[in-house]
Symmetry: D2
Amino acid sequence: MTLWGGRFTQAPDAVAWDLNASIKIDQRLALEDVQCSQAWARAITATGVLTIEECETIRVGLERIAYEFTQKKFVFQKSDEDIHTAVERRLGELIGPLAGKLHTGRSRNDQVATDFRVWLMKAVPALSGQITVLQTTLVQLAEKHIHTLMPGYTHLQRAQPITLAHWFLSFFWPLQRDRERLADAAKRIAVMPLGCGALAGTTLAVDRVRLAADLGFTQASPNSLDSVSDRDFAAEFLFTAAMCAVHLSKLAETVVLFSSAEFGYFELSDAYSTGSSLMPQKKNPDVFELARGKTGTLIGSLTGLLTTLKGLPSAYDKDLQEDKEPVITAYDTLMVLLPVLAGALETMNIHNDRMAAAIDDGMMTTDLSDYLVARGVPFRQAHAILGHAIRLAAEKKVSLRLLPLEDWQTLGPFDADLYAFFDPQHSVAMRRCLGGTAPEAVQLQLKEAIALLPE
Amino acid sequence: MTLWGGRFTQAPDAVAWDLNASIKIDQRLALEDVQCSQAWARAITATGVLTIEECETIRVGLERIAYEFTQKKFVFQKSDEDIHTAVERRLGELIGPLAGKLHTGRSRNDQVATDFRVWLMKAVPALSGQITVLQTTLVQLAEKHIHTLMPGYTHLQRAQPITLAHWFLSFFWPLQRDRERLADAAKRIAVMPLGCGALAGTTLAVDRVRLAADLGFTQASPNSLDSVSDRDFAAEFLFTAAMCAVHLSKLAETVVLFSSAEFGYFELSDAYSTGSSLMPQKKNPDVFELARGKTGTLIGSLTGLLTTLKGLPSAYDKDLQEDKEPVITAYDTLMVLLPVLAGALETMNIHNDRMAAAIDDGMMTTDLSDYLVARGVPFRQAHAILGHAIRLAAEKKVSLRLLPLEDWQTLGPFDADLYAFFDPQHSVAMRRCLGGTAPEAVQLQLKEAIALLPE
Amino acid sequence: MTLWGGRFTQAPDAVAWDLNASIKIDQRLALEDVQCSQAWARAITATGVLTIEECETIRVGLERIAYEFTQKKFVFQKSDEDIHTAVERRLGELIGPLAGKLHTGRSRNDQVATDFRVWLMKAVPALSGQITVLQTTLVQLAEKHIHTLMPGYTHLQRAQPITLAHWFLSFFWPLQRDRERLADAAKRIAVMPLGCGALAGTTLAVDRVRLAADLGFTQASPNSLDSVSDRDFAAEFLFTAAMCAVHLSKLAETVVLFSSAEFGYFELSDAYSTGSSLMPQKKNPDVFELARGKTGTLIGSLTGLLTTLKGLPSAYDKDLQEDKEPVITAYDTLMVLLPVLAGALETMNIHNDRMAAAIDDGMMTTDLSDYLVARGVPFRQAHAILGHAIRLAAEKKVSLRLLPLEDWQTLGPFDADLYAFFDPQHSVAMRRCLGGTAPEAVQLQLKEAIALLPE
Amino acid sequence: MTLWGGRFTQAPDAVAWDLNASIKIDQRLALEDVQCSQAWARAITATGVLTIEECETIRVGLERIAYEFTQKKFVFQKSDEDIHTAVERRLGELIGPLAGKLHTGRSRNDQVATDFRVWLMKAVPALSGQITVLQTTLVQLAEKHIHTLMPGYTHLQRAQPITLAHWFLSFFWPLQRDRERLADAAKRIAVMPLGCGALAGTTLAVDRVRLAADLGFTQASPNSLDSVSDRDFAAEFLFTAAMCAVHLSKLAETVVLFSSAEFGYFELSDAYSTGSSLMPQKKNPDVFELARGKTGTLIGSLTGLLTTLKGLPSAYDKDLQEDKEPVITAYDTLMVLLPVLAGALETMNIHNDRMAAAIDDGMMTTDLSDYLVARGVPFRQAHAILGHAIRLAAEKKVSLRLLPLEDWQTLGPFDADLYAFFDPQHSVAMRRCLGGTAPEAVQLQLKEAIALLPE
């Protein structure tokens, strides 16, 4: 059964049919299709197209179909072009010709856009919830490591000592922005296309505002032509997903680094590592590598959908059928990645000693510049003086803190108190400004972070 | 002069220097760099690093530099690695060694991120303003064409009659979403990195909340490591720009189509067309083609930045230097495209007669289905009946409205009143549901649209 | 069973396991995995690791597994992490502990790269074959339409008359370039990784040159580190696929246009169209729209893989597991699109009359410029003269050929023979230069095209 | 001056003009435009359009223009829409109305495509040359380090010892593939569009085969419609450039890693490092980070062009104007990156001791598996035995080589000779298979590599 065969004299070509059919992916929208059809039945009952009894018969039939889907008992047929056709076909089997009335005044164009948005209205909070799982893990780890010191890096060069709590929280905030972006995207998802018909609006006197509320939308779309072709919401979701993946990729990159023998800061648990089929000694951070690798795929999905949307000429073009696969795949990917990364972080061993040992004297030179600045040396000159100190220490092959005071004094207005600056605790403690790495500042940061998590 | 040469014994390689230098693009941030430096001077004066007199001297020097930039009198030197170096070098020339104090407690890492955000805090409303220019044009055209009829298309096949006003407004709403996305992005742009230093936070007791307010930010960033590496705001801006370009590309595609001889609905004015160097009769819709073509470029820029961000390991990596060129280019592109498209739409001729003539009888068959539905035929059966009517008319080689009543009656419960349905005015008038194409509904839509424009 | 559990004390986390497992996609490589394992068994038999009898036992066991795959009787188990594990596990069930010897001297790193390349060595000629199917259709259509005239367009404006054969062939050559690119890619696919081990090369004295020949490769890879991480061939295949899709998208765009009521040049057969669930009169060119839409997806897949590859640090990183899905999907997509488009083109009706009627006088002005040039007028001046003639005709509201000779003569050195130039047959006949649209030139072009097709 | 104003009654809108003008980027094709115009003059002289004297006058005029370009004395005017217009305008100033004859029989559509291809025919070998510069550096470094040992990594975990020469050469081969791809792309670049006119072919009896040879093309394009719109060559060049950048990004990523304090294998020279404006001790590998970052931009450029090309409807659409900027920028980027990276590699210090010290006992377990296999243990069992040995050593907190023989013997058929396997020299020496890391195999590999370099 197709929903459109009336004027056609020839059957569709078999391969073209397969190309055309979207059922493989849009069956993910099965329950949403049922839900929207039930709401539509109610809406057109109010206009007199269905009697209350007919509406009830349809409702019960659709309920049965939903049950078949949730029980995985629904049997698709080769002729089911898409989920809408499948549901309508099955409804006909269950309740007879009355099923044919359900499509009155609507089109698959407004129907599919509505189903998809309803699906996303559930997906967005679910994804946001998985993001908070990872955020919670980061917060818990930060709470444990407010005083743990480690080297901070820029350009992957040791730069300044930081606290591990600060490092964990540096991945909390990007995820918080992801949640904010999801919330913003949700506003634009919650606009209902149903009632736009194929392109020009339905001729039925449907109360679209009420229908929208019935389905959980905040608004009915203001322009039918735009509404049946608008896939901004899908692209925006994909952008948000890709951005979130980029954040995970940065976390992943660093954990992979920190789990190397050379860094040795982290050691993943067996449950979240994999071995080598050839090399018995290996313990590989596969889940983090996959998070990084899948980021490429998600960026590609965003690119793909935007490219598909470029230059489409009509209210609805079949090109739009390419919209669901990338969105659903991106969702599935993140829904798995987020809890796995949280689990891997939670269960890994952290080698505080290795991190502490990696903090070297050179990382305190900014502080010594500040020391000079406090003694009236302009910053640029102070910076140069420390540069010379480093060269001197290198020539003498000693660590900076072993350079004798007389050497320091040939370079600038130093006193014996300079040596106190080589204590990394001192270094981090000085960065107590809002957003800084000092334990004192991190405590405040943590409080702010926790307040953003759901209870 | 570099800001970092102290410990280096060798001069930079010349080609490597060119590669490294970002001055070609970041000079676009010159005024923002001055603005942020002035605010920083005030902030560190409050901590005692500068005296009030020193702060004033710096302010005046920076004012002079701003003047040189706006007057295009600022002379860059080969050694100016980036805009921050250029400004600091020039400040030194103007006010002497005191200039060296300005960099106390900050780093180019927090500085460039702050400059860039300040630039975007100006760019976003400017771009939003240009979007309203095009929206206003669309509204004005819609106001003139509430009763103008044209064919509506899906799959580029004639589908149902619509009003031209509805068509123009179908491009208003996507632009409105673009403005909303820009407004949402603006919230995340308005978070200040200054005071984060290179990565770990400044050691000065700077009041970052006050500094943020001074620069027009709504918030100081909560985590220094995240803050110096966060380029979400740039990616989000690029996504919004690419999405906006996709909208323009769809408008462009349709205008190109409608300006073809075959459609003949629109005729561009000479001022917004170009000719052919070979074919004297040609009048080409170049500006619309460029809008469509540049959409590809903008999607590529978004892809590029996200790809650059993927998997970066440290708080700050030099890879981030690739962030400004795509953002500034995307902004420049849209700032030109939007008013040009508005101008081209405003000045084009619209051939109402061609559009009216293109509405054929087949486009009213949905309405005739509704007619049957009103007479108790289930929708699916009604759809099939009309399919047969079309085949019958095709076999008889007549237009549907010329099919005699007896033919209709062999197919379904038709009466003579069916012929009234071939009036396209009747067709559009029936779609008076919220968001529909009926003049009555479009009046309401217009009112809603106008309310969203700034006065 | 994992192939690596020895040193691990904890079972893998269930969700992490799912994330990690690649079996859903890499089971597509099942037969290639068997084929490569058989070749490996032969190769290590030559080194003495296996006896000839053991080799034969393994061969027979693998043959049985291949049979199970082709008969779809192979039963995967939850613990089958990837296709290599599944095959090795099953081999153990069939032949006992001897199966454990097969993995001697190889790693999944070289194994998967080899399987994938073997798969592509079959996929490339198969895809090339489907391209020739579409090319053949284009050639056949061109043969029928050497003298059929139609308007040629630039900027979607009517430009000059062309022959329909020339138009069909304009899609032949891009496909020919696609086949050339595939052939070039094939050279780089045919380099064998097997024997590279995990990264450093196998310790067995395997004759890799002979092994390569055994598997149909032209070469054994020269550097093991590069070889286990090299996915250039996958990216190059994806680029070629995306480029091919871009070509299909241009064909699709034009067919969609030409199938519109406004152009009316083509009419798709029922077998390759779809109807509307709402509008009984619609006949939609869905397959062409899908070709255009899926182009976005393929461009996204290419982007995705390149992004995944960016910045990978080691010889083998798990990120590489993202390589197969986009390649296999791109292949599947094109293998369906190409024959469907060929079928749709073959079966469509072509309305020669509509095309002929769309050729207007303005399209011959370039020829009239040439006429003036032949009479000594510099080209630029001739171009301007014709521009004025067009304006004059527009003012007089007549077609150019109805402009009286005296009018022409006020503009330039025209004689009565100018009117012959309004015959489009004359216009195309003049373009007999190599590559031109004249039937004479197209005959030669066709001959060249046919020579490139396999017999 | 525009080349097309004749029929237009209104001047172009100023902003639209700027949008439309391509002169900023296509002036890079100035010399190619002159070169192609000279060839065209010769070609149409042969058809009698120009006299030999006229041809000579034009030649001299164009020569003068070329001189002005190379001397940077050419003065562009606001009205120069593109490089073709600029050259033709200037030629008119130099030689009078005769300049107007030069455009006879050609169009900017075939002209720009030809100029661009001529430009690329020079760019490709130049780029290939820069690739060989980096390849040569890699070969030279490999020659010095055939016996230098380092850890080889997979998943960034230490895997097996390798030679540094092998590591350097692992970046040689990807670049070799890039050069091969460039050579393949060159074949498709060398197809001449000139003589295709605007779309349908020129009416002049130009000998296109001879003209092609005159300009260094191997072939004249076979179909004019395809030829004026074909930008495959630009996309293919961009793909090749992006792929090359991906290779550089992987090299860059590893050098950044190896230059970290934690790895400490490499130390960049001052000439190729940059310092921090805040932290005097820093020495940042900026050039490598830029190589990695710019890879994102290049991938974005490829995406952008492919997206622009998707779905274009006509022989020539103005969207194609977006083709030059990404290609020229990609070229410029690589032409700087390649020699800079070569210089940075050449001048860096290599710490052999740090690399040797990083080879730990665990990396030899694969060899010990082989040891067991040689003693008849099936590989999978051997792998498991070594896994247990590792756990045992970890429990005893000793390195593997310090595990007493009796412990080994509880696990499998070990003898005292097992201890010889902990010598990394022994490990690499065993991988002497083609493509393996053994010095012996690397010598052969080097020879093969050197043979591929130009003398």
